[in-house]
Symmetry: C2
Subunit: 491 residues, 2 copies
Amino acid sequence: MSQTDVTGAPRRGKVLTLDTMNPNIKQVEYAVRGAIVQRAVKIEKELREGAKKPFTEVIKANIGDAHAMGQKPITFLRQVLAMCAYPELLKDDAFPKDAKQRAQRILEACGGHSIGAYSASQGIECIRQDVSRFIEKRDGGIPSNPDNIFLSTGASDAIVTLLKLMVSGEGRTRTGVMISIPQYPLYSAAIADLGAVQVSYYLDEDKCWSLDVAELRRALRAAREHCHPRVLCIINPGNPTGQVQSRQCIEDVIRFAKEEGLFLMADEVYQDNVYAEGCKFHSFKKVLFEMGPEYSSTVELASFHSTSKCYMGECGFRGGYMEIVNMDPAVKAQLVKLVSVRLCPPVPGQALLDLVVNPPQPDEPSYSSFMKERTAVLDALAKKARMTEQIFNKVPGITCNPVQGAMYTFPRITLPPKAIDKAKEEGQVPDMFYCMRLLEEEGICLVPGSGFGQREGTFHFRMTILPPAEKLEIVLHKISAFHQRFTKEFS
Amino acid sequence: MSQTDVTGAPRRGKVLTLDTMNPNIKQVEYAVRGAIVQRAVKIEKELREGAKKPFTEVIKANIGDAHAMGQKPITFLRQVLAMCAYPELLKDDAFPKDAKQRAQRILEACGGHSIGAYSASQGIECIRQDVSRFIEKRDGGIPSNPDNIFLSTGASDAIVTLLKLMVSGEGRTRTGVMISIPQYPLYSAAIADLGAVQVSYYLDEDKCWSLDVAELRRALRAAREHCHPRVLCIINPGNPTGQVQSRQCIEDVIRFAKEEGLFLMADEVYQDNVYAEGCKFHSFKKVLFEMGPEYSSTVELASFHSTSKCYMGECGFRGGYMEIVNMDPAVKAQLVKLVSVRLCPPVPGQALLDLVVNPPQPDEPSYSSFMKERTAVLDALAKKARMTEQIFNKVPGITCNPVQGAMYTFPRITLPPKAIDKAKEEGQVPDMFYCMRLLEEEGICLVPGSGFGQREGTFHFRMTILPPAEKLEIVLHKISAFHQRFTKEFS
């Protein structure tokens, strides 16, 4: 890399280049904020600068960002947070008593009674206690120990931390991490970053994206030829696929994990987002404990939750937690040490999480308005989930499973062979080509299915159901019309 | 690991054990929240439960956590944050106009006008612009490009991210990272976590912990035998050592980095914390640009700042930024991709950072009270810095460099040989033995020098100067008395 400059003196190139940088990072991909989103941001800028387009705004249906799509924050949560930030407001009569009590309790648990102090690295103790009580209540009384709760910077942080803890070995002994396809690309990105081995198991699109243990077994057997699979990741309700797992399926997965010696990671950040009739959220923890001591005392499990989804949609606060079950105490001590290096999760996010796990109770003044706001959000999402499925399934060439839960639809799109050829000609994967065309023509930003993984030869996109109902309806019809136009153009 | 249980059926051990976990994580150490702090937390619990001790409270002088030590948040910052959390307050006449304008501007830059929306992964654009303007003003007009600003979850996050980007190679080609000894243990922890090679250079205690290029050269030459040193980390003002680097020293370091092909990382989170007469903070960026285009267009630099230190002390919000200079654009694109996986830094922390880089101006209503609060904090710290040095230097067996800046003193302590033997007998490093005794006898929690690194055969501790002046004075006298008692006991 050394060269000489015009004076003949030796000249160095950059120290840090694509050739010298961490090679794992080059393998990282995160489609939810990838090329298409960068293009969307550019188009927005062009629009602001007066460019003429066939549309007046870009609708970013690429990411589960409820507030950005117009969902209003829940009043109670924000009142308490405002008082935590500026405790003078505790004297303000405009705030209800229960909100004040919550704020006071959080502040008393903070160093110097300020959310500007560091907290314990695992999170503020009384908030971890509240999380445990929340889990116990949710799971019908199955005990939860605050010592097993780790607050985090959103769920992503906890997921990456736990994966990091589990990566070891080289070559055929390297840790394999089983993830669903389609998956949420945080997983594939973290696996690449850590140099672990991705072990893909496919969800069954024909059976509403359900998970089949035979497929888990197939993937595991094949992986054992070249790595050491030690972790099984499940997202329930599913992202990007929106399925809600049956209790039976969860039991089967747990049995499989025990038989095969796998650490279970259950990503349950959409636990309140269940819409389809007959579907119900079952936590892995609850099912594990209901299977009896043979399971509940042996199977290692980490489950994850977040303040970013459900009815709150408070993504910006980066609040979350994980609960660990049956972790070797010596490893847990290492985990405690590891999280201490980053000092603590953001305290405003911890405070917010406390309100989520300890919301207003029926005898408290904020209860009725809190419940009204909460129900309105969840009811609207349920309606939009149905609307999405109905409109898409009317379009020839689009097939859409019911959005049983979470915040996304992941419809399958049939692309004409000529479109596939054209995409290849332009050096793009076909569904990226499709989504880019949609973005340029309609100003709608989706994420191509290839960003989440899909069976070879199939094509999808992920779209959030978060825009307001009237806008969502227009978006769905625009996509439908685009799809027909696109199909015609390349037929 | 397979065994059989009482029924004769095969029984598995844990999937995740000390033997199977990530071996790098086992090497991670972070003394600032290590064994001594865990013991301090236990003692606090014992006190709450009524245990009799020679003291009534534990004083945690182990960590730079200003609010926990009683420093009050700056009113202006918190007013704006409260309005950002609960925009209804924008209607409240109790808040000054400039605070309202700041809140409004931040909210307008947020998706859906809510700090609950995700921001761009690099941080909110208008805040990055404000950061650039702040840097330009600080550095006398040297240009700063908002595209080179990355907001972060505290400075730690950005430091770890950048180190991660730079780690590659195996064996003798593995990335070496030069860090000072003593150092802030985030660096050694991140290096262990990433499996990079720590290259230690020693600060000169006899010259007020100054940095000497000859020592850098010695360390570099030695390291080249077994790794590929590519990064040079500097903390200025110093943590834990409190020195403020001269302009000349910074110039020498930059010249050295250029000659030797090193990427510079300048940790400048204490940039407002300069107390000693004749000392001034010089940013690496400014010195680099003043050295002319030969340097300013070639030397790769990242500098870090945070909302946790200076006069704000807002650790809990986890706000921060880094500015990168001369980074290869292709690598920068990889960095943008990498940060996108974690979605975004906490938005309340971003908002707070915006206020730090864009504080009230002389013609604004909050200016005078803001300046009064700010000055009071910094003046008090300056007084405490002097008091600390004066009291410690009166004690035989304690030698203390002036606390020129930052928030810590790192005095050298002479330990009697019998104490060293006794520590070894108990399996402790001598300064840990000393600090543990101090904790048990006086309820004062310090961090042993061994947690930061020190020359073989020397012993130190790190103590923050953050307790209120009256309390700090008592603490200093208690430590002095303890030291004399301890010395006598083991003589």
